[in-house]
Symmetry: C2
Subunit: 338 residues, 2 copies
Amino acid sequence: MKEFIINNPLDMHLHLRDNDMLKLVAPLSAKTFAGALIMPNLVPPITSKEALLSYKQRIKEASNDNNFETFMTLFFKSDYTFDFLKDIKDDIIGIKLYPAGITTNSEDGVSSMDIEFLRPNLQIMSDLNIPLCVHGETNGFVMDREKEFMPTYEALAKSFPKLKIIMEHITTKEAVLLLDKYDNLYASVTLHHLLITLDDLAGDSLKPHLFCKPIAKRPRDKKALLKAALKAHPKLMFGSDSAPHPKHKKESCGCAAGVFTSPIALQVLTQLFEKHKCLDNLNTFVSLNAQKIYNIKINNKYIKLIKKDFKVPNIYEYKNENVVPMYANETLLWSIKE
Amino acid sequence: MKEFIINNPLDMHLHLRDNDMLKLVAPLSAKTFAGALIMPNLVPPITSKEALLSYKQRIKEASNDNNFETFMTLFFKSDYTFDFLKDIKDDIIGIKLYPAGITTNSEDGVSSMDIEFLRPNLQIMSDLNIPLCVHGETNGFVMDREKEFMPTYEALAKSFPKLKIIMEHITTKEAVLLLDKYDNLYASVTLHHLLITLDDLAGDSLKPHLFCKPIAKRPRDKKALLKAALKAHPKLMFGSDSAPHPKHKKESCGCAAGVFTSPIALQVLTQLFEKHKCLDNLNTFVSLNAQKIYNIKINNKYIKLIKKDFKVPNIYEYKNENVVPMYANETLLWSIKE
């Protein structure tokens, strides 16, 4: 049976939530990934060392896997001091900036993307060599929000040439093109944005489990993202943005944004890269690029995939929490070898 | 208290369904409209005189209002004969053409929009002076489907200069512009497309009750539609495309397309036209234009609106059927005077 090994797969954009949802999803990520960059948008957001270390410990206990590395992030606030950031520097991999209200639990994000307003903090981050992870969307028309944010990325890249800036979960051709324009711009891309467009969400009937932010865009955008991922563009990392919400919150009016992909991501990526005859690039896309960009070292964790049907569960459950994965009840061509 | 009278309001694009759903929604339309153009996409679709007259009778019984005129349409088939159409001509107001699979119950629609394929039937319709109502969408990317259909509208208009062609439920600036380019092109526009864009469906959380086909487009499109409606563009008619689906089908995965607006349409239109200081044009938009375009006569039915809060019901119910209206549980500024 055909096999494929991924060495140290990394998920560089992950939402693990807290409490029982954390206990449900953390083991699923730990099972197939060697490490993950953990997003800080809890309620309240992670803005102190105490909260950060406590969350890291809760994740460790929930995942119950000593071989799953958590790269923690702090929720960007414009008033962090030099001393605070210097002290916390070794405990974080980056700081995540959200424009206020732009996505789940981002109400405490920045009220303005004005460079001068952000300058003091960004200069400290640049000096301390702390990467800046950005949810890059304006509050404009939903299909234009990322594209409209490009000038802000350009202004950030030009104003802080030594600051590593990661455009998170990019969804447009414009963002892909920007990667090659500024040395200090990097990006993560999700699994689902390599696979779907707005057509999959709303072209036929409406599919709430494919509703996410940024919203899936046009075929031209998907094509550009896929092309960059398949060739393992050195400035592009895999980041699932796997974002669990309970089934009832996805399947009701006012459905929450987020696609849950952690437990199926490697299988689907293997299937996708194999289909496009790019399997040789998968390890670079899903591990080596992130190691280089973030300058991280990681223990060896081999994940072996075998070409054997995998029926995706309808739902994952723990106590009163549950979450429906992408491709629920469908059959994938690759499985994780237990 | 401020009052406003609409004389003979007409809904020139209406889905009444059948059975208990018909019994639920027909009286709601009859209550505020003097007449409506009834869409033929039942299962099976209305393709015979017998089915048409039987449906008209069922609507009459369900609406229980002798002062509610039903203008019936036939479901376009490419093999209708001259004799058949001549015989049915006086019982219909037009024939509705659906590209196959493009919306609810359109599976029996035409497989090709090729003019030569459609020519025999369209020539008969032109000769008999039977208007052609068209669901104008390609099967392309969801945001482009109507725009991509414009060349087909142009080809139809040029090939059959004596055929009245109605672009149904237009949603784009491009369609508005086309109205002024061909004498024989007309259009209907819904209430919801004057009010919402894709942002309302998917810009914040996902709102299944605003999911419709054609999908709501960009702000520029809404602006163009609204401008044409507010000035009562003489080739533009009100057609609600009110399309009831039971609550459970709207609020589940694979949500059906359609917004239910019949019982709130006149109140919201009055509010909208008043807000833009165009109340003087409302009667033309919602009645006179359709009378001229379709050359129809109608009895006098005055609907009196008063400026008094109207709390929209959460749901309308009849036996086991139910439907959630647009603006459910919200308060409108105008009420129908009982």
